[in-house]
């Protein structure tokens, strides 16, 4: 099978304008554009999942893709997550580049044996022979009153496994650039979206770009506190930082973009400047990504800390079904503001 020419990933990134200027795309459109651009470049790439073809995707991410790429490359599946996860491994062994859509990462749990016991280990266990360049993507986290079984935030569990890469975008610009990098990556990438953000609009430049993995994006600069997050809660951090600025508290706000690899270097450098860190994470607190960040900050910048690190996670209970409870269960602006003030002894 021919190897396609790899795009230039080191190319300069177009500027990120969060203020509503330039070409505006929905998060879902940005995802679609990323997949479509790569599929036009490389005919080994296909999209497979429940409802992705004739129904145009349960969340309309793949709208129109069946029309453009046809049923050989946009493929509806039986309801069988372990089935299509395993099928992707085989297709990758053959030389194809699968994109697998989970309607929700909550449903990936039934595919855990393929996802965790095969995908990240295939290259390793075959002495370097069989790679597994598959992108698994879908909604992650509480989607708005979907109940506990459908509201999983899986990154902490999955990030524990070596051999994977995990990207979690917080806005349309990142969604496109990170997904394009994920698709051309030679390792398996777990790509986590949020149905609460799919209609969010943001600037997505028309020019092509790839966002490198393992490099955090400094969304806001400040010297009082380091705010770290990834995915949807980044947006709550931005809101909180705006409110804190009114009280004269300036935060360094780091959007991690990927949690594996984790750009701990940027976090440590920021902490050396601010002496305080608040990590915001929509996973449960125990053994979460936030826990990992705090651990590594202690390893790398312990002597620079002026206050113990603070985590803002979800509450340590299953995601509640009731509207008000779900909102209170998740990290939000109010919790973040309080945590930052606590770290500054200004509560």
């Amino acid at each position: 099978m021919p190897t396609m020419q790899r795009p230039d990933l080191a190319k300069h990134l177009p500027s990120f304008t969060p203020t509503g200027e330039g070409r505006q795309l929905q998060f879902r459109e940005a995802l679609r554009e990323a997949m479509s651009e790569e599929m036009r470049r490389d005919d080994r790439i296909f999209l497979m999942g429940e409802e992705v073809a004739y129904y145009n995707g349960a969340y309309k991410i793949s709208q129109g893709m069946l029309d453009e790429f046809g049923p050989r490359r946009i493929i509806d599946t039986p309801i069988s997550e372990n089935g299509f996860a395993g099928l992707a491994v085989g297709a990758a062994m053959y030389g194809l580049r699968p994109i697998i859509e989970f309607m929700s990462w909550s449903f990936s749990l039934v595919a855990a044996d393929q996802l965790l016991n095969n995908v990240p280990k295939m290259l390793y266990m075959s002495g370097g022979q069989w790679g597994c360049p598959v992108v698994f993507r879908g909604n992650n986290g509480a989607g708005g009153q979907l109940g506990s079984t459908h509201s999983w935030t899986v990154e902490a569990m999955y990030a524990n496994v070596p051999g994977l890469k995990i990207a979690i975008p917080s806005n349309p610009y990142d969604a496109k650039g990170l997904l394009k990098t994920a698709i051309v990556d030679d390792d398996p990438v777990f790509f986590m979206e949020s149905e609460r953000m799919l209609s969010d609009k943001g600037h997505v430049p028309a020019e092509e770009y790839y966002i490198p993995f393992g490099k955090a994006h400094l969304r806001r600069q400040g010297s009082d506190v380091t705010l770290v997050s990834f995915g949807r809660p980044v947006n709550f951090c931005i809101e909180a930082a705006g409110e804190l600025a009114k009280e004269g508290i300036e935060a360094d706000m780091l959007d991690m973009r990927t949690v594996r690899p984790l750009d701990i270097q940027s976090i440590a450098e920021s902490v050396k400047k601010t002496g305080r860190i608040v990590v915001v994470d929509q996973c449960w607190p125990f053994a979460s990504i936030a826990s990992e960040v705090v651990t590594q900050v202690c390893e790398k910048a312990f002597d620079y800390l002026d206050h113990q690190p603070i985590r803002v996670n979800t509450e340590d209970v299953p995601t509640p079904y009731a509207k008000g409870l779900e909102a209170e269960y998740l990290p939000h602006k109010g919790k973040i503001v309080r945590a930052v003030k606590a770290s500054l002894h200004r509560l």
Binding site: G83, A85, A91, N118, D186, P261
Partner: protein
Amino acid sequence: MPIRTAYTAKIEYLQILDEEGKLDASLTAPGTPGILTDQQVLHLYQRMIECRQLDEIAFKLQRSGRMHTYPQNKGQEACALGSGFAMRAGVDWIVPCYRENAAMFMHGVPMASVLLYWSGDERGNHFPPGVQVTPIAVPIGTQMLHATGIAWAAKMRREDRVVITYFGDGATSEGDFHEAMNFATVFNVPCIFFCQNNQWAISVPRESQMASETIAQKGLAYGAQVQQVDGNDLFAVYKAVYDARERARAGGGVTLIECITYRLADHTTADDARRYRDQNEVEAWRSKDPMIRVRLYLESKGLWDAGKQKAEQERAEVMVKEVVDKVLNWPAPKREEMFDHLYAEMPALLRQQRDSWATHSLGMGREAGLQSGSAAGSHQHA
């Protein structure tokens, strides 16, 4: 008509060469496709002797502490040989579990690789370029989905390739079997599901594993072609897989083949089947040993005799000994090799970990500007 028959089915059992080494004339009439020639049988019998010899030696090596756990193939060689021979080397794909050595060898996997793997070395799962055999799969059933994916990919690329995947009776209880069968038939991919029903899933007998009369009938539920075969009959296994392969190439999709066979040895060297199996049962199956009937057949054709058996046995012993010597002298992997092949390109942090003799966190500390040495000592320097 309030009641009508919605579905009826039958399962056919195929035996061509019986326990006495006699070929069924009606099934082997001249011109019948998929019938082994005498030269082919001779060739396969020699491979059978080699495989049996490998089993004996691997077992002895394990018992003397020089080999890790090893699953013997003894008694099931006709399954691996007949099926492997029916697939086209370098064209078709072999997706094994772990009890079909001969099929892997036939498709280009060196015997040394398999032995190296079972001696506890993942480098044994790295096969030479061009060999279309996937790694030995020890979780139960996962490989069937990979096979389905490979077959789907071949179909998508419009390439003339067929995939065969191997599993045991116990694996049909896993969801992977059912999901793979469902996908394979819904997508109508060129895939053969080859079940070696050796009656025992470690210590669990077939009747405690499933309530269905046959495994073949499970394929009917998914719309696959099905065939039950005497798995100790080299001719029947070859014929069934040959037909399934040709059907798949013609767009006929999926076949589930259930081979009725018997695990004459323990599950693996970590097992002692005497604790749970009736020895009378084992003895009854010994007389159905696939080697016995092939030898009888060849002898009846004047192609084999005691002298040839002795010479071939000696040749196999030398050949296996050479492989064993090679594997036992294989240089052990170095510590730093533990970090290889996790990612296509080694991430910086992993490289750092590899290059540090300390623990992960101490390695990080040193990287942050601390001196090497004990954690307490280095902290004072910071």
